[in-house]
Symmetry: C2
Subunit: 182 residues, 2 copies
DNA sequence: CGCCAAACGAGACGTAGCGTCTCGTTTGGC
DNA sequence: GCCAAACGAGACGCTACGTCTCGTTTGGCG
């Protein structure tokens, strides 16, 4: 990304403002350029779609915030898993992130590049933290275990079958821990 | 839907042909109308977007095929859950259904009507069948149980983290059954 | 300090799809 | 066999597309 720093920032700000006003389907390259006070060519030089601009803006912001996911270890597996699930739920329910991720996964078959960027810079660290905590607990199948924990969270987020209430998360974590205690 | 039957069929055929050629993002109302030999007004009278046309076409086809999901009961819970998971996997990996569902869930926050139609006519029967089988097995929390079974399947489908191999499904079902055997 | 190439803001350009509309022309139910 | 409702066709102005060509900053190097 060879765009000048100040320009990048203005474009990021513009797309975040616009997505709040018109939603992801309402984003346009011309709109972003105009709001950022930039030429269209400048936008096309670096990004290939409004969704790509939004993805970059959100990932840049989240990276500036923390960068990596800490692996908690209070000794109690259920407690630590809750912390990790809470982090993921926070990400999934933040409105701009929610909308962006939905549209990125929609285009995943057609534009794998977008999905990889999301995967690499946002999801993988979360999954890795969960697997690490399982391994520390002596769980052999940490991969399937992480999927068992995250799957229902994504399912509930994706299909909006119910809220992420205290009680639901507690029940879910309990079932997962039970599945892994041979 | 007051469109004449033969017209509906021609539109359904047209959108299924087109989505295979140009993908969901390439679908347009004008393209569907032209391919179906219909006027644009006729399309707009019944549907409000190309994705809505595709959703209707796929749901109509799948309803004509079977209509409802059978609840298997061989006596072995793991075996029956496999059958139900296999059915869901088949639906999720059929290319046009795959693409359609991704785009519908992407628009779910903006256009809840689309999501409800998908939910009601396709997903709910699957979930109900799984919950019914759990209840027959004496599982108290059949709701969370169904989520535990389906969540990782959707997670793997959505993020494409790995294939639906024999081995993965077997391991996953085993973990779920174990989570529920108090 | 002054230079110069790279990056930039602005916007013109032809194309395509949008959603609405107005035409005649089927078409099917009474 | 009649007549209103539904239809095929396509014109209309509009918006966004992606490419392009302009001058104009701008920042690094001598």
């Amino acid at each position: 990304m060879s765009v000048r720093v100040s320009t990048r920032d203005r474009v990021h700000r513009a797309v975040l403002e616009l997505v709040a006003e018109v939603g992801v389907p309402g984003l346009t390259m011309e709109g972003v350029a105009a709001r950022a006070g930039a030429g269209k060519q400048t936008i096309y030089r670096t990004w290939d779609s409004p969704l790509h601009v939004l993805l970059d803006a959100l990932l840049t912001a989240s990276q500036d915030a923390d960068g990596r996911v800490e692996v908690p270890d209070t000794g109690d597996l259920a407690t630590d898993l809750r912390v990790l699930v809470d982090g993921m739920v926070a990400e999934l329910t933040d409105p701009p992130s929610d909308a962006m991720m939905r549209h990125v996964v929609a285009l995943l078959p057609d534009r794998p590049g977008l999905g990889e960027e999301l995967q690499e810079r946002l999801l993988r660290p979360q999954v890795a933290a969960i697997e690490a905590r399982f391994e520390r607990a002596g769980v052999a199948e940490s991969g399937p275990a992480a999927e068992l924990l995250l799957g229902p969270v994504f399912h509930r987020w994706l299909l909006r079958t119910g809220p992420f209430s205290e009680q639901w998360i507690a029940t879910h974590v309990r079932l997962v821990v039970q599945a892994l205690s041979t």
